[in-house]
């Protein structure tokens, strides 16, 4: 007695997968949109690159709908939504790309062989671009950021230790205050430091600039440190406690060394956040044309170098401002890469 199977069992399918024709349909929609967008670009007011993009951006979802029309209303809606999301994302990246490209193009004009090593001690801003440089601004910015780091990193880590390790009664309140502090407008921090440090100590100084930057840096450091400390496994803490260590000893010899690179990341992130702050420095450190390391005097900084050169309206001064923007972008990029390097080390642990 045997049962003869008349029909084969159905072949397993994967209906949630994209069908083979999806790619073709998308391609067809893109090609159609670009062709029609290009035509609109020629015959209507939608001229230039942005006009082309605008045309394509509106036509692409339409053509996606057309090429998928046979597949039912749900699929069409889904395809249109995907197309709109993709177009929205690309629309955001265009200005960002434009910023990078413009700064590179215009900034490189101001560069000459000793741009990074000379200052503006004997060069007026309107002078030819082969004279003078930006060394004073780089030195000033790095010096102030260094002092700001020394002030804000300990307090940031202490706040994080309080929230994660001590778990005190006010942990929620402290986290709330730190978040509120990250919203303080930079000009208000500058105004505060002006009304205290600058007025009390009788003038603009690098110290005042550093204090203003440290106020803006603290929340970033505290929040990142908090996230980092949470990564330490409870086992390590309890093992340390079981060996008889006090909490202080556990924190200093077990927890902090374990995530040292993460805490450095927190500090560098804070630096990347404040290195380009302009508004508070206008009110605190002001500007100085020569290289200086005197913290009691006004000092140059990259943002103010850009800002003051921009205010002059002179062609060469404006070119210098773009050069400063390029250097500043490079500095931000450098610190940003540092954070990536350090944070990839945490993950390996």
């Amino acid at each position: 007695m045997s049962v003869v199977v008349e029909t084969m069992p159905p072949v397993p399918t994967r209906p949630w997968r994209n069908s083979k024709t999806t790619g073709m349909r998308n391609l067809a929609a893109i090609v159609l949109a670009v062709i029609c967008g290009g035509a609109l670009n020629q015959v209507t007011g939608l001229s230039g690159f942005l006009g082309l993009f605008l045309g394509v951006a509106f036509l692409f979802p339409v053509f996606i709908a057309v090429t998928n029309a046979k597949r039912g209303a749900n699929v069409v809606t889904d395809r249109i939504a995907s197309a709109v999301i993709a177009v929205g994302f690309i629309a955001v990246t265009i200005p960002w790309l434009s910023i990078f490209i413009t700064v590179f193009q215009k900034g490189s004009e101001a560069f000459h062989s000793s741009y990074l090593t000379e200052d503006m001690r004997i060069t007026p801003s309107g002078d030819d671009l082969q004279y003078g440089g930006i060394a004073h601004a780089i030195i000033g910015t790095l010096l102030m950021v260094l002092v700001a780091t020394v002030i804000s990193v300990p307090f940031g880590i202490i706040a994080a230790v309080y929230i994660v390790e001590v778990k005190g009664r006010f942990a929620g309140l402290i986290r709330f205050l730190v978040q509120a502090m990250s919203g303080v407008p930079s000009i208000v921090a500058g105004l505060f430091v002006y009304s205290t440090v600058v007025i009390l100590f009788g003038g603009f100084s690098a110290w005042a600039g550093a204090v203003a930057l440290s106020i803006l840096m603290l929340p970033t450091v505290a929040r990142t440190s908090e996230e980092v400390l949470k990564l330490v496994s409870v086992d390590l803490r309890t093992s340390s406690a079981a060996l008889g260590a006090t909490q202080a000893r556990t924190v200093f010899t077990v927890v902090i060394p374990t995530v040292a690179s993460g805490l450095i990341t927190a500090a560098v992130l804070g630096v990347a956040r404040v290195v380009g702050e302009t508004a508070p420095l206008i009110l605190t450190s002001s500007y100085f044309v020569a290289s200086s390391t005197n913290l009691n005097e006004p000092i140059a900084s990259l943002p103010i170098y850009i800002f003051s050169n921009l205010g002059l309206g002179d062609q060469n001064a404006t070119a210098r401002a773009w050069g400063g923007a390029l250097v500043l972008l490079g500095v931000v990029f450098f610190f940003f890469l540092l954070t990536r390097i350090f944070s990839s080390r945490i993950k390996r642990k």
């Binding site: 200005p95 960002w96 205050l177 509120a180 919203g183 000009i187 208000v188 302009t278 009110l283």
Partner: protein
């Protein structure tokens, strides 16, 4: 046989002296942020108190900024009404423009691209979020300004009958629209990162259930992810709003400072409180400086309020999970 059961031992967690000192020190240090916030409010109030006493409520509502005779402070008329309105208008433009793009970007990163592209995009977002406002400002002045001038002509031509798109004279350029657009670009990364974080916590089983029922990807996003992330998105938007309200240099470079309340977003007039402070600070008289301190206090309180609200909403949406 158990005959003599000992009493239950009470476990006491007595901290050693070292730990007591440690905990107290850490607690003390943790309150540094509160001290700073209180000091900011206190000092600005102390320096600007005279202004509030002299002008009262009209400092916030009046839009005239006239020092009068520098020797005689009673001739001065100072008010930041126009600047407050300008702050709010530019911030609203920024939010209205940036939210749809931020949502699209967050959805794309979280649900549409494979893992390695996601890592790259998140890095790029973080980098853009760290771009200094002066770089945005210089770009906005050099690149965006001519474009917006062109667009303004077109918008005014076709939509000029709508009051906010009307202009008193054919002067476009450094308008609230330009400043708002630039601020919008600056806050997209902020809103996106909050939205992305909230969307990533959307319940996976509900998304899978939607797919299992035959729903499309958009169906799952619309039915599960977007409703789930709504309050988080509101919080993220308010964080962006706070940033846009307090931005100084980018607005300073892209908006003409004019002391009159201007709702016409294409007209070349406006300003915000932060750019007022940056503009007037350089040559301010002692009395004017006090007024700037008072303006700073108003800005501080407004942004603090917005941020408190935003933080509470974001935290609440985190706790649902």
């Amino acid at each position: 046989m158990l005959t003599n059961v000992p009493d239950k031992r009470s476990i006491e967690n007595n901290l050693t002296r070292v730990d007591k000192v440690f905990q107290n020190l850490v607690t003390l240090g943790a309150f540094f942020s509160m001290v700073v916030l209180a000091a900011i409010g206190g000092f600005l109030l102390y320096r600007g108190f005279e202004i509030f006493k002299d002008f009262g409520f009209s400092f916030i509502t009046s839009s005239k900024w006239d020092i009068g005779d520098p020797e005689d402070t009673s001739t001065a008329i100072l008010g930041i009404g126009a600047m407050l309105v300008g702050s709010i208008i530019t911030a609203i433009i920024a939010v209205v423009i940036s939210v749809p793009f931020a949502v699209a970007t967050a959805l794309l990163i979280e649900f549409y691209v494979p893992g390695w592209i996601k890592t790259i995009l998140v890095s790029i977002l973080d980098l853009v979020a760290a771009l200094p406002s002066v770089v945005f400002g210089i770009w906005g002045y050099a690149v965006l300004l001519p474009l917006v001038e062109d667009w303004s002509v077109t918008i005014e031509h076709y939509l000029g009958w709508i009051p906010i798109f009307n202009v008193p004279s054919e002067i476009f350029g450094r308008s609230p629209l330009l400043a708002g657009l630039l601020l919008g670009l600056m806050i997209v990364p902020i809103i996106t990162s909050v939205a992305r974080e909230v969307y990533s916590q959307a319940p996976r089983d509900l998304i899978d259930a939607a797919s299992a029922l035959g729903g499309t990807r958009w169906g799952a996003l619309r039915a599960v992810v977007l409703p789930f992330g709504r309050s988080g998105l509101v919080g993220g938007t308010m964080l962006g709003l706070g940033r846009a309200l307090g931005e100084t240099v980018a607005v300073y470079l892209t908006l003409n400072l004019v002391f009159e309340i201007n709702f016409k977003i294409l007209a070349s007039a406006g300003g915000n409180v932060a750019s007022l402070i940056a503009t007037k600070f350089g040559e301010a008289t002692a009395y004017e400086l006090k007024a700037l301190m008072a303006a700073g206090l108003v800005l501080f309180l407004v942004t603090l309020l917005v941020n408190f609200g935003a933080t509470m909403i974001v935290n609440k949406s985190r706790k649902i999970v």
